[in-house]
Every structure is written in C-alpha cells, then in structure tokens.
C-alpha cells in the first residue's frame, strides 16, 4: 500500500505527550506513529508503522483525526 493510500484511510490518533513523536494510532493491529521533522528544512511529518519509516509528507491528511480535531 502506498503512502497516499495510507493517508486516505480514516485514522483516529492519540497524543503521546512527546515533542518529536506526538501521535500514535492502532490501525488493523499495527502501531502507527507520527514523527515531526525539522520543518521547513525537512518534510513536516514522517509516518512509521511498526517502527519502520513508511514515508514523509508535509500536509496533514484530511481523514486523519487528531484529538484536538474532534
């Protein structure tokens, strides 16, 4: 599955309380984690699934819901 396809999935994120890794979610039994990078030098976000970097993106996907988006 491509990053674009993953970004199209509805995901409900939880806060971790950490600055560099602020959001975590469980999707189909996998641990999804968001890393914030050195933006604007680097892309804003990196998605990690089960500890593996899947891809980077700049703009938060519309279907991904953060606690504050609720």
């Amino acid at each position: 599955m491509t990053l674009a396809q993953l970004c199209d999935r509805p995901v409900l994120w939880r806060r971790t309380g950490k600055g560099e890794f602020p959001y975590v979610a469980t999707v189909a039994g996998q641990d999804w984690l968001i890393r914030i990078n050195d933006f604007p030098v680097e892309p804003m976000y990196t998605l990690l699934i089960d500890g593996r970097e899947v891809g980077d993106f700049d703009d938060w996907p519309g279907g991904w819901q953060r606690p504050e988006d609720a």
Partner: protein
C-alpha cells in the same frame, strides 16, 4: 530564467519579508499606499506546508552565492557562518509564521524545545558544539555551518519534487 536572476528574485523576496515591517526613516522616498499594497501582493505568501517548504528553499538557496561574495571580501569563516545561520534562522521563523495551523506551529516548537531546549531550533553555539562533537576543528566547524545553512535537503526535494524558484530540476 538564469540562475543569477533566480537568486536575485529569491534575495529580493527574502529582503522584502525580512525588512518589510521596518518604519520609514527620514530621507526615505514615500510611496503611495496603492503602490505599496501592489508590491506586497506581488510577493505571494505560501499557503500549504509543501508551499512553505518550497518558499524556504528559495530563501536559503542564496546563501552559497552570498558566501562566495563574503569570501571575496575577506570575511572570516566564523562571521560567514554567523551570517549564513542568521539568514537560515530568519527564513525558518518566517516560514513557520506562514503556517495556517497554529497547532502545527506549536507542535514544531514543542519538538525543537525537546531537542534543543529552544522553540526556534538550534542556536549558533549549539551548531558549533555539534560540529565539534562530530570531530571537526578550527574553521572546518564554521565551514560546515555555512554549508548546512544553504542546504535544501536535496534528497527530500528530489523525492518530493520541490524545486528552486523558477527551476526545472
């Protein structure tokens, strides 16, 4: 568009954003408000984060050209590093001000606070310390800071199609 023209346009945009809020000094030539507004509109502000990163790249790409000029003028390595870092830091701050989501800006500041103890990224002294911890000494410390200040994350840009202003890479 030539490289020199792209550099000049990027530098003009940066200077406009950096000093645009300065008060008018005695002797300045006053411009009609309509002209000032038209000038401001000509420098479009980026909206999405991807556009903001593109804007940032266009600002820091001038550093290597400026560094060549500073070298020709005999500016020391430390002073060139400080100037380069000043430009990069100003562009970083301005880029984050462009962000539409203040929540995302706060998240970036929290990340930098966690990593550097500073919400706006590493200080010059921290960059020097990091370079020395990496084994660099003397002027090579400062040369590395100049080089990194003008770096636009080529790997990321190639991967995501971010291009210098007017570029075709």
């Amino acid at each position: 568009m030539t490289t020199a023209r792209r550099l000049m346009l990027a530098l003009c945009a940066f200077l406009f954003l950096a000093v645009g809020q300065m008060p008018v000094q005695a002797g300045d030539v006053a411009q009609p408000a309509a002209v000032v507004q038209a000038d401001a509109a000509a420098v479009q502000q980026p909206q999405s984060n991807a556009e903001i990163r593109q804007w940032y790249n266009d600002q820091v790409v001038v550093i290597s050209a400026l560094d060549a000029q500073w070298r020709a003028e005999g500016v020391s390595a430390e002073q060139r590093a400080r100037r380069a870092q000043d430009i990069r830091h100003a562009a970083r701050i301005k880029a984050r001000e462009f962000m539409q989501s203040k929540q995302e800006m706060a998240e970036l500041q929290a990340r930098d606070m966690e990593k550097y103890g500073n919400p706006d990224g590493p200080t010059f002294d921290q960059l020097v310390q990091r370079a020395r911890e990496g084994g660099l000494t003397d002027d090579s410390v400062y040369e590395s800071i100049v080089a990194s200040a003008g770096r636009t994350s080529a790997d990321y840009n190639a991967k995501y199609g971010v291009k210098p202003q007017g570029g075709t890479q």
